[in-house]
Symmetry: C2
Subunit: 191 residues, 2 copies
């Protein structure tokens, strides 16, 4: 694992972070919010964007074997190589986008989410069904979820407009700080 | 529209019903339950099984144009041609299968579910997240939902075992009767 150094030369671990947008729309405000988060992230965050949602086959338990489809193996490899994940998703008809859930379906039994810190950003100021559902699903597959509502005002904001809005940037910085804390501090285990 | 006749020669409208299983598993108990329902359905139900879930592309709002992908146009045509729908779906990690939700995502804006009676069967004796989510989503896109928990004991039952179980057959007949009532009686509209 690569490392950076702070001013007093203490080595600082670099965290590999996978960003996933639940929308395939080219000008998605969810993707823009993730890009804004990338700009504001701690210097030891190395954020990569997962771009394979649309290449995944439809989940079929009959095909979830020891030799999964190539795109599924790729998704799982990205997750295994990531210390943490940030997800931002739209809501369609009071539910998660099927495409995003399909990706999660392929990883239910393979275990990559176990104990992984996941920051879930809600770009919407009003919708909550998809966000709540995502928290429930990720908690069920044993991820450590951190849930934040950013609440963009309308869907016309691009990344630069978000970075120019102090309310949004302060919420993003706060949520990224919580993700960093979760990455640094192992989960407390009750005995 | 074709019709059958009762003993007293009163014409009986034939209802076209589309059955959708949320699972792509070849030996899915959800598909078996739908096949059992087909055996027990009123004689004027003409039940067809939709088999195109896995052929649908991943939903992308940028592609939801006046000329949609062929598989999407086919799904919409099946829905338009159906008087009612029966859905039975598994639950994956406390959520709907992404594949089923993806099909719904392609029909949010095209309006085929408006006022359509939809019987939602829950095969599980314990799970409720996917079922509740499906009711919420279909209600949001203006379908008339009829929700029934059948509650199979384990997932080893095939269609014949279900048809041999009086508790299951009576629940299926009751739920199919409610669907028939919804098909015959227009929804009451409050003034």
């Amino acid at each position: 694992m690569s490392s950076t150094k702070t001013e007093n030369s203490t080595p600082m671990k670099t965290f590999q972070i996978l960003a996933i947008s639940g929308s395939l729309r080219s000008r998605s405000s969810n993707l823009s919010l993730l890009k804004a988060a990338q700009q504001l992230a701690p210097e030891n965050f190395q954020i990569s964007f997962y771009g394979g949602l649309s290449q995944l086959p439809h989940f079929n338990p009959d095909c979830d074997t020891e030799t999964p489809p190539v795109a599924v193996a790729d998704l799982r490899a990205w997750l295994r190589a990531s210390d943490g994940v940030i997800i931002c998703t739209p809501e369609y008809a009071h539910g998660l986008p099927g495409t995003l859930k399909n990706a999660l379906d392929w990883t239910v039994s393979s275990g990559e989410w176990m104990e992984k810190p996941v920051l879930i950003l809600n770009a919407s100021p009003v919708s909550h069904f998809a966000h709540d559902s995502l928290v429930e699903i990720l908690t069920t597959i044993m991820a450590r979820t951190i849930s934040h509502r950013i609440g963009l005002s309308g869907n016309k904001m691009d990344e630069l407009a978000m970075l120019d809005n102090t309310e949004i940037t302060s919420k993003l910085i706060e949520s990224l700080g919580e993700l960093e804390t979760a990455l640094v501090v192992p989960e407390l285990v009750e005995i």
